[in-house]
């Protein structure tokens, strides 16, 4: 019986250490990756997997089922919420042009629409459109067109 406990303990420790290491790499990624979008990758994938592994380790180690149910809930909500928050943050970051374009191989969102030519009113001050005079005229024209359509 004690041997079984020891084996369970060892397995739990392996899971806990592996999970903590993955959470550590999530932190490292936040430091090492160049911009918001890449950092959100680091903030979601290794972190979610790390939390899941820690939950498994804790479930093995903890006594009683009531703690296990709670850990199951934590894992489920982690997997449901982490992608959503990452999506919201990266969407805002992209629209406000906090993107390292020099690190992008292709950007199909940019070529298909025209987010960079027209003022949309929520750009950061340090990200002007490429041709500001033309963009201002164009966004005014677009505004008039929308008013006319209404």
């Amino acid at each position: 019986m004690t041997e079984l406990r020891t084996v369970a303990d060892v397995i739990a420790i392996v899971f806990l250490l592996l999970g903590s290491f993955l959470c550590l790499t999530a932190g490292l990624g936040l430091l090492r990756f160049p911009d918001v979008l890449t950092r959100m990758h680091a903030g979601t994938k290794p972190q979610v997997l790390g939390v899941l592994l820690i939950m498994v380790g804790a479930a093995i180690r903890l006594q009683g089922w009531s703690a296990t149910w709670m850990l199951l809930l934590v894992a489920a909500f982690q997997m449901l919420t982490a992608p959503v928050s990452a999506h919201m943050i990266s969407r805002v970051a992209y629209r406000r042009r906090h993107v390292r374009r020099d690190r992008l191989l292709v950007d199909e969102l940019r070529s298909e629409r025209r987010p960079d030519r027209v003022y949309r009113g929520d750009e950061p001050a340090d990200a002007p459109p490429e041709n500001s005079g033309q963009a201002l005229a164009e966004s005014r024209r677009e505004e008039r067109r929308e008013d006319g359509a209404r």
Partner: protein
């Protein structure tokens, strides 16, 4: 939406039932122990939540195909583990990451629920993270963490479409599964089934 003119209350209850069951389950898991008091308390809380904070019903509803669901889930678990390990390795290795890419993928699915499941699961699989979703044109904007050339981009696009197919086969209606066979961007034959 459905042909029979069921009373609004019955219709709502039928569509809210999965939500109610889920809320009762969460309540019981939070208490951690099974008892009739917890079950009744959970039902009271779930009814209160759904009546006081009503949500619009999920349009179309979901059908679950067990075999396809198991297939989807097993791919998902493998993807989750491998993407966690891959990104962890990319953060610690000395060379770091190479170029990134932002791609748009033309999807074939036209259902709010399926698109939500797809977008949620895509963020946790290797390489990709959803930035934008154009609901009307059914295109998905994805950020891909690590690409070295155009072939990588195309491979990612193919894997997104494969993931879409698994999601639709697990949760979609026969119509939606049939729509998988259409060429990307082609309009399905059924008209007038727009979600608001």
């Amino acid at each position: 939406m459905t042909g029979d003119p069921a009373p609004a209350a019955t219709y709502r209850l039928r569509h809210q039932l999965p939500l109610l069951v889920w809320l009762v389950l969460v309540w019981n898991l939070l208490w951690g122990t099974w008892s009739w008091a917890n079950l009744l308390g959970g039902i009271v809380v779930a009814l209160a939540v759904t009546l006081l904070l009503p949500l619009p019903p999920v349009v179309g509803g979901a059908r679950v195909r067990p075999v396809a669901l198991v297939r989807f889930l097993s791919y998902f678990v493998v993807d989750l583990v491998s993407s966690g390990a891959l990104v962890a390795w990319q953060t610690v290795r000395p060379s770091g990451i190479d170029r990134s890419a932002i791609v748009t993928v033309q999807l074939r699915t036209d259902s709010d629920l399926l698109l939500t499941i797809l977008a949620e699961s895509l963020t946790l699989v290797p390489g990709s993270m959803v930035i934008d979703l154009d609901r009307e044109r059914r295109t998905l904007g994805l950020h891909i963490l690590h690409v070295s050339n155009e072939d990588d981009v195309e491979r990612q696009r193919a894997s997104v479409l494969a993931q879409e197919e698994r999601v639709v086969r697990a949760f979609g209606s026969p119509d939606e599964i049939a729509a998988l066979g259409l060429a990307p961007g082609e309009e399905p034959a059924r008209a007038g089934r727009r979600t608001p």
